[in-house]
């Protein structure tokens, strides 16, 4: 079935036309996470030349676990940023969740799955409170979450005790960040990802064809699938290389458990944003809240939900943080939120709302982690490290401000 519309869908033309359109969009300012990807390649090249350790499997695995907490936080924050709001309390929410996880297990003997659920629910509840204060009471999110940032630091001190440190000893929690999966799991993970990707893409094509609408050239799907498979094979094989310092004693190979966790969050969040009414409403409220309101969207409900999502992700990030450090201290999560905001913005999420994807946050998270990791390897003072990360954030925010202004005045 074909329709007689003279109006196009943007899917017409060949594979090459699609490529040309993409280049035109990039030239027109819709760069997405392309600058971050390029930056990543450049940074990786510089660091690899400066210190060959950078490219070793052990460092790559480190990089993944280093970035996981920030990336998880950044994905949650992306929802809030899409509304043009901010959540400065995400880091300390993660810290508080980590503390609850540690205490419920060590002091109350709660089983780890229940403790993990409690930690995540705590995050969700915090988000609900923040959301109510922002959406119903009408306090700017900057102020609400700054207040929460301070208050939760105090609460954390009370919970953990000054100078205190609560150890984590549940093996499954520790495994998330510190133990690789069996070799075969990496390959299974890759197969599952490819199946999900192909499945959703083909479902979309069938759905569109059923409404008589033009599909994108099949070549794009083939190209992307091949790229996914090639990159995936490279990724899994690299992580399956031996990276233990002393393989005869302890062998260390395989994809870390945290990788599928982050990927599930990424896939679920992306599905919600791109394929559901709620996701569409998030973009609408971020683009023009008044238009959304007049279209009958319940704007304050969207606001509250978005803060709940951010804080729920923060709760999960707290578990990752606790796993990596094998303990929780009174300052846990204090400094991490700015890295997470930087990650999202560097990846291409706009601070002005309405623009950005979760994958941007993941790519941005990598950039921030690579800077941190690479500068550490070069042996620069850690102060410089912070200054450079700050500079990169400012650069990304500048690019964001300029493109937003351009699209507003055109």
């Amino acid at each position: 079935m074909s329709n007689q519309n003279t109006i196009q869908t943007g899917n017409e033309g060949s594979f090459l036309d699609a490529g040309r359109n993409y280049i035109n969009r990039v030239k027109g300012g819709e760069t997405g996470s392309l600058p971050a990807l390029l930056g990543l390649v450049i940074l990786a090249t510089i660091f690899a030349v400066a210190n060959p350790i950078f490219l070793k499997p052990i460092n790559f695995a480190n990089l993944l676990t280093q970035t996981a907490t920030v990336t998880t936080l950044a994905m949650g924050l992306t929802f809030v940023l899409l509304l043009g709001e901010i959540d400065l309390s995400a880091g300390v929410t993660a810290g508080l969740s980590a503390a609850f996880l540690a205490i419920t297990m060590s002091e109350y003997g709660v089983a780890w799955p229940i403790a993990a659920v409690i930690a995540i629910l705590l995050g969700m509840m915090i988000g609900f409170l923040i959301g109510i204060l922002v959406a119903k009471v009408g306090i700017p999110s900057f102020v609400v979450t700054l207040a929460a940032f301070l208050a939760f630091q105090g609460l954390q001190l009370v919970v953990v005790g000054k100078g205190g440190l609560i150890g984590i000893d549940a093996p499954p929690i520790l495994a998330i960040m510190n133990t690789p999966m069996p070799i075969i799991f990496g390959w299974i993970l890759l197969v599952v990802i490819v199946i999900i990707y192909l499945g959703t893409s083909i479902y979309t094509r069938i759905q569109r064809a059923a409404s008589g609408q033009q599909n994108k050239p099949i070549g794009i799907l083939v190209f992307r699938t091949i790229a996914l498979v090639v990159i995936g094979i490279g990724f899994v094989s690299f992580l399956n290389l031996e990276r233990g310092a002393n393989p005869a004693v302890t062998s260390l190979r395989g994809v870390p458990y945290v990788v599928p966790i982050v990927l599930i969050l990424l896939a679920a969040g992306t599905f919600v944003l791109n394929r559901t009414k709620f996701g569409r409403h998030v973009y609408a409220v971020g683009g023009n809240a008044e238009a959304a309101r007049r279209a009958g969207i319940q704007v304050s409900r969207v606001r509250i939900t978005v803060f709940m999502i951010s804080s729920t992700f923060a709760g999960i990030a707290g578990i990752l943080m606790a796993s990596r450090q094998a303990s929780v201290d009174a300052a846990a999560g204090r400094s991490i939120v700015l890295s997470a905001i930087a990650a999202a913005v560097v990846g291409g999420v706009s601070l002005f709302g309405g623009k950005g994807r979760l994958s941007d946050a993941v790519i941005g998270g990598f950039v921030i982690a690579v800077i941190d990791n690479g500068l550490g390897l070069i042996g620069l003072a850690s102060g410089l490290n912070l200054a450079i990360t700050g500079g990169v954030l400012l650069l990304a925010a500048t690019a964001d401000a300029i493109t937003s202004r351009k699209s507003r005045t055109s």
């Binding site: 109006i7 869908t9 009414k277 569409r280 007049r294 279209a295 969207i297 309405g354």
Partner: protein
């Protein structure tokens, strides 16, 4: 020309803000298949009259008849359920979304919770085609990339998509150039020809005379004239607007 019961009829509608009477015993009716123009000087009460119909700002007193039956319009949901849709002057589109997304905003179609993009896209394209819109190339363009006239077109098409009986346009051509004004006016005409009751607010009498069937004039909150376009001329209307002339009104 259609002459059945008006789709909307307002009788002795009043609205005050504190001591200020903004609408004073206003009578107003709109018919299907006609473009009804509402004109008047700044502050005459045009937007206030429209806000009452949109359910945003209910009238204090008076009767509202919808298709001959008395109704209440006290919130926006009620009027949109009755099929009254307002295209506001500031259009209220989301720049970061594309045309399809904007046309279905707040009323997205989904299958088992998953947005049915193909279906929405084809409906949007069909609506634009049925309005003979030629200025919009692709329904997947971001609204930020559209010209003023194209944006107006999208906003109007959105009202049409939902099969509304009454489409209210607040100054749809105010920001447009000559060519785009022409296109939007043609679109307005086509809406009426498709059987909808169209209300257009405009300060531009040339536009009003180009497109309207009937002209209502508000002067300081009173409806001072209700005339068929064929029975009047621009000079008379200017007289009514400035208060130099009045027509004895009866509903």
């Amino acid at each position: 020309m259609t002459n059945q019961t008006p789709v909307i009829e307002l009788k002795n509608v009043k609205k005050s803000f504190g001591p200020v009477e903004v609408l004073r015993d206003v009578n107003f009716s709109v018919r299907a298949g006609e473009v009804t123009a509402l004109v008047g000087d700044n502050g005459a009460g045009k937007s206030t009259l429209i806000k009452g119909l949109a359910g945003i700002q209910p009238y204090d007193q008076g009767t509202i008849l919808f298709e001959g039956k008395p109704v209440e319009l006290t919130n926006p949901r009620q009027s949109s359920e009755m099929g009254i849709d307002v295209v506001y002057q500031d259009l209220a589109l989301c720049d970061n979304l594309d045309i399809v997304h904007n046309m279905f905003l707040g009323r997205e179609e989904a299958n088992a919770g998953i947005l049915d993009e193909g279906h929405m896209e084809s409906k949007a394209a069909n609506t634009l085609t049925s309005l003979s819109v030629k200025t919009v190339k692709s329904v997947r363009q971001k609204v930020a990339r559209l010209s003023g006239g194209q944006r107006q077109t999208v906003a109007i098409a959105r009202a049409v998509l939902w099969n509304n009986k009454v489409v209210i346009l607040d100054e749809p051509t105010a920001a447009l150039g000559v060519a785009q004004t022409e296109q939007v006016l043609q679109l307005v005409r086509r809406l009426a020809d498709a059987g909808k009751a169209v209300i257009i607010i405009s300060h531009n009498l040339q536009d009003v005379f180009a497109v309207a069937d009937r002209i209502y004039v508000l002067y300081l909150g009173k409806m001072t004239a209700a005339v068929k376009k064929s029975e009047t001329n621009q000079a008379d209307i200017v007289g009514y607007i400035t208060g130099a002339k009045t027509q004895e009104m009866d509903a």
